[in-house]
């Protein structure tokens, strides 16, 4: 993967994690699996987990602990109000950037 692709993916990982959690309460490994299935968002666990714990530390995610079938307590994440606001802001920004870029790439008149 080229440097540009790496930088682009690095810039959207936080948005992707927040968007994934916005679809409903979920846990770390499930987020990794979900994003891995999406082209261009194939982040691995060493990228997702640090972002996840940082977002939780910033108060953007709430954690609920519950025993799991496979052993120890699992941590389930959901967006807090602040997390929802952050996601909306990031999504709006993304839409603007993507729209502007699309216009440029379509090669319309100046």
């Amino acid at each position: 993967m080229g440097r540009w692709e790496t930088q682009l993916r690095k810039g959207v990982v936080e948005l992707a994690v927040l968007a994934s959690i916005a679809r409903g309460e979920t846990y770390g490994y499930k987020i990794v699996e979900e994003l891995r299935a999406l082209r261009g968002l194939e982040f691995t666990e060493s990228t997702i987990y640090p972002v996840l714990t940082r977002l939780a530390g910033e108060g953007l995610l709430a954690i609920r602990a519950e025993g799991s079938p496979s052993g120890p307590t699992r941590r389930y994440y959901r967006l807090t109000d602040e997390g929802t606001r952050r996601l909306r802001g990031m999504a709006a920004e993304w839409t603007h950037v993507a729209g502007s870029l699309e216009g440029l790439l379509e090669g319309g008149p100046r």
Binding site: P50, P69, S70
Partner: protein, 197 residues
């Protein structure tokens, strides 16, 4: 539905070794709460992957196969621009000071030595020259210049030696020569006063 995973002690030791390695990679680079959170998530993932094998008690080979599918511990090393400031500051305080370092200790030793040379050689030389040329002014001026110069360099040497006290022999040299330089400068100053009288 996944089966609950019973892990034997030797299999658990392999898992713990991986988790400890990730923990060490993050230590001092990521806040403690986040570090523990990351390690806990990796542990859950390992157990989930083992449970997917649907074997009640995974073997050593099962665990190794699961670990091979995961990112290596080095992948958890945060990039520099993501690193939090606090641990870095703590580490920086243990390192030699950026303003001095070994250069500061070396300068201290050199200045201390110059201070001694000035007062032990410069001042007597001024006096001898004054005697030879039968010039009292030259005698006093030479001694004063050497005493003041020696005092100034000795004080700077002392300050640098204290600032860089962790730098061993050079700082100690600066400290000792600085102290002697200050004392001898005072002796030189007293000698000047006697000459003037």
């Amino acid at each position: 539905m996944m089966a609950a995973t019973e892990v034997s002690s030797d299999v658990q030791a392999i898992i713990d070794a991986r988790l400890d390695t990730i923990d060490r990679m993050l230590l001092g680079r990521v806040p403690r709460a986040e570090r523990l959170g990351i390690v806990r998530e990796v542990e859950m993932q390992i157990l989930d992957l083992l449970a997917e094998h649907a074997r009640a008690e995974p073997t050593r080979e099962d665990v190794l196969a699961v670990l091979a599918r995961l990112d290596p511990p080095e992948a958890y090393l945060p990039e520099r621009d993501d690193a939090p400031a606090t641990p870095v500051v703590r580490r920086a305080s243990l390192a030699p000071r950026a303003t001095g370092g070994r250069g500061g200790a070396r300068a201290s030793a050199i200045l201390g030595t110059i201070s001694l040379v000035l007062i032990l050689l410069g001042a007597p030389l001024g006096m001898i020259l004054g005697e030879l040329l039968e010039s009292e002014v030259l005698m006093i001026l030479g001694t004063v210049i050497c005493a003041v110069g020696s005092l100034a360099t000795a004080i700077i040497a002392l300050v640098l030696a204290i600032q860089n006290r962790r730098d061993g022999a050079l700082a100690i040299t600066g400290l000792v020569t600085g102290i002697i330089g200050v004392l001898l400068s005072f002796v030189g100053a007293i000698a000047c006063i006697f000459l003037l009288l």
